[in-house]
């Protein structure tokens, strides 16, 4: 039986076979045949027209991060495709499953500098798991199958399909086969029992163990396995920025965030622990500070799915290669039940010190201008600590990550590895679509908000009920903080002359409120959560707020500034 179809329709059918329900995109010349086919599928896909291709990429990331599904972007060639590069690089750094389908000039024109031709495969090779050019209609279904297999397996990441125009209009037989194997790519390694034994022996002999929890736990849906592991052996845990929410904030063994702006306890204890168990994390420099002085006293056990991460930054004593969903239970089985009461209590003095010097003044001030931390905590509590937190990048990101509280997994969508300003608004759009039943709170600074401000149009059109908060200090705050600390207060290019954000929100028909006082803030928060419509809260905060604690870049992880 013949099942001939036009290439663009093969793509649509292939996406349905991969259970794609949402597409973020922007049309243009060389992807027009595909958008023409999409017109016939509008009742089967939730198609979201963003206002810029970068927004489409970040929205797809936000969607993927909260849902665990692969985010899909559909854009045109040339500038359409290059506009997605920041999102693709971001997804590569943060292991976010993404399939970006971009139009391309017809095969016959390739290499001739045709209109809107760009070597997208060449541009994206360093920032994708896989990048492939589809040059014929017969090639579409296998390429899509392989793309989804690669994006959302193993260490997840972005895949680019460069979709030549002729392939979109040619006819081919449609016969979809899911891809489960591609030679040379082994996404899941069988857990090696001898690695488990070696790791268990080290952990069982530990007197002062510390777990470092990364996003690998969330990507593997291994939150329950993590909890069982930590509880059985009574191991305190620090989280990376992306690992936040894998373990609830108030869990007895959760000792907070690691790294540059992390909590004092887990950073100090990193250099006191006798055994460190790194779970689905990659020893990023923002976590480790100076590697020469990082955890030199400790035996290090590293559980990760990506063999290229083993010994990359930190030499490990024992590695356990594989999905932590598989390795954690096996390791837990071999662990002896233990109690490390004294060790765990030794975190308390640092918690108390941080609470007194940093947290209380930031979160519970009674006078002076609004503090970023207090705005964040109030909003978190107004959602019963159940919301999804989306952040932009900078002080707003760190304040939000530190003072938001987490009761559910997949509650943090932030640009960790790449640190992409402008990530916030579009990622929040994607997050709300990916988890419509959850409240989504997006924190941005006045700088980052304006980098993708055009996506307010998407929010308006689709009435996406995201709650946006600008922590406005009229500065590019994080850079300003570094200038204050390390560049003799020479505020080069950091003061911001800002528009009336409320007037912009008004223009998009988005309800909004600008607040300066605690009373106004409380009232606005109440108003913000009164319904599930989009809302913009502009919180004018102290101009020269600082994010503490801080381990200055490249310094020893225990060299912590408290203000």
């Amino acid at each position: 039986m013949s099942n001939q179809m036009k290439g663009a329709y093969i793509l649509m059918e292939s996406l349905l076979k991969e259970n794609v329900d949402t597409i973020f995109g922007y049309p243009g010349g060389s992807i027009m045949p595909t958008f023409d086919a999409l017109y016939d599928y509008m009742n089967r896909f939730n198609y979201v027209l963003t206002r810029h291709e970068q927004g489409a990429a970040h929205a797809a990331q936000g969607y993927a991060r909260v849902s665990g599904k692969t985010g899909v972007c559909l854009v045109t060639s040339g500038p359409g495709a290059t506009n997605t590069l920041t999102g693709i690089a971001d997804a590569m750094m943060d292991s976010t499953p993404l399939v970006v389908i971009a139009g391309q000039a017809g095969s016959a024109f390739l290499g001739t500098d045709a209109f809107q031709e760009v070597d997208l495969v060449g541009c994206t090779l360093p920032i994708t798991k896989w990048s492939y050019q589809i040059r014929s209609a017969a090639d579409i279904a296998p390429a899509v199958a392989k793309a989804f297999h690669i994006a959302n397996s193993g260490r997840k990441g972005p895949v680019v399909l460069d979709f030549a125009k002729n392939a979109q209009v040619e006819m081919a037989e449609f016969n979809y086969q899911k891809c489960t194997f591609t030679r040379g790519y082994i996404p899941y390694t069988a857990i090696n029992p001898s690695q488990i034994d070696a790791a268990a022996e080290i952990i069982n002999s530990a007197k002062k163990p510390l777990a470092l929890v990364g996003q690998g736990v969330i990507l593997a849906n291994a939150e329950a396995e993590l909890k069982a592991f930590l509880e059985k052996a009574d191991i305190p845990a620090g989280n990376t920025l992306l690992g936040l929410s894998a373990l609830p904030s108030d869990h007895r063994l959760n000792k907070g965030m690691l790294g540059m702006h992390g909590n004092v306890g887990p950073n100090i204890k990193t250099n006191e622990a006798d055994v460190i168990i790194a779970i689905g994390m990659r020893f990023d420099d923002r976590v480790t500070g100076d590697l020469k002085t990082y955890a030199k006293q400790a035996k290090i056990v590293h559980l990760d799915i990506d063999t290229a991460e083993m010994d990359k930054n930190v030499k490990v004593t024992a590695k356990v290669l594989g999905d932590v969903k598989d390795s954690l239970p096996e390791l837990t089985n071999r662990l002896k039940e233990a109690k490390h009461t004294e060790w765990i209590e030794s975190f308390n003095e640092y918690e108390a010190k941080e609470d007194e010097k940093v947290i209380r003044p930031e979160v519970y001030p009674t006078e002076g201008p609004l503090k970023m931390g207090e705005v964040v905590r109030k909003i978190s509590e107004a959602t019963n600590n159940e919301a999804v937190l989306v952040t932009d990048v900078g002080q707003n990101q760190i304040m939000a990550a530190r003072y938001f509280k987490y009761t559910k997994s997949r509650s943090v969508v932030t640009s960790g590895g790449l640190g992409t300003m402008g990530f916030g608004i579009p990622a929040a759009i994607g997050a709300k679509i990916g988890a419509p039943e959850r409240t989504v709170c997006m924190f941005a600074g006045d700088g980052g908000f304006q980098m993708t401000i055009q996506e307010l149009g998407t929010i308006m059109e689709k009435q996406i009920g995201v709650k946006m908060i600008i922590l406005n200090n009229n500065y590019l705050g994080m850079v300003r903080q570094w200038q204050e600390l390390f560049f003799q207060e020479r505020y080069s290019s950091t003061p911001m002359v800002n528009p009336k954000f409320g007037a912009i929100a008004d223009a998009y028909g988005i309800k909004n409120k600008e607040v300066c006082t605690r009373e106004e803030l409380d009232a606005a928060i109440k108003e913000m959560f009164a319904d599930d419509k989009p809302y913009l809260l502009i919180a004018n905060c102290e101009e020269k707020g600082m994010v503490y604690p801080m381990v200055p870049a490249g310094e020893t992880v225990t060299n912590i500034l408290l203000g």
Partner: protein
């Protein structure tokens, strides 16, 4: 590519010459995928040779680069991680039997004027590939030092009109055939 100096192969700040072999799918753009991994770490590719392998559909890259073991290990892991790469290994000179080929073009008049052609041919085991009124083309295979030795001797005696050396090709000495093992493992995974 930098002028190869095999002194570095012995030792130089803990660095030495490594031979990286990469087995890949036969696809467009593979070389780019591999080379950008060297570029990111600012590693020079000293020599490069690409050909089909003994196995149908699998290409073999032989790349040499001077660095330390820690770095080359990370580079190989990053190469290996690429979806279209089947397997990548690194070796020291002791692990492999390796060879390069060099061609030398000189003018026939100068060549005949050397006087000691037989000695030169015996000393370097030269093959003459072409001889015409204007030029003689010689071939020599060997390690870098050997092909370079002939080039230097010729250069002192006459003008070398053209000189070219290939990238290294190599075969492992080991008893274990790691690619075959890898392919068998992949077949087993596929069947699961």
């Amino acid at each position: 590519m930098a002028n190869n100096n095999n002194k570095a192969a012995e030792c130089n700040d803990g660095k030495r010459l490594y031979t990286v072999t990469v087995f890949s799918e036969n696809q467009v753009g593979l070389l780019n995928q591999i080379s950008i991994i060297f570029t990111r770490r600012h590693l020079n590719i000293e020599s490069l040779s690409v050909s089909q392998s003994a196995l149908p559909g699998i290409h073999k890259f032989t790349i040499t680069s001077i660095t330390d073991e820690d770095t080359i290990e990370k580079v190989v892991k990053q190469i290996d991680k690429r979806v279209d790469i089947i397997k990548s290994f690194y070796h020291t000179d002791e692990d492999v039997v390796y060879q390069e080929i060099a061609l030398y073009k000189v003018s026939t008049e100068q060549f005949l004027g050397l006087g000691s052609i037989e000695d030169l041919i015996r000393k370097y085991n030269i093959r003459i590939l072409e001889m015409s009124e204007n030029c003689v083309v010689m071939e020599k295979t060997g390690h870098y030092e050997e092909t370079q030795g002939l080039f230097q001797e010729l250069s002192t005696k006459l003008t070398v009109l053209q000189f070219v050396r290939s990238g290294r090709i190599s075969i492992t000495r080991s008893k274990i055939e790691r690619l075959s093992d890898m392919l068998a493992k992949l077949e087993a995974i596929k069947k699961q």
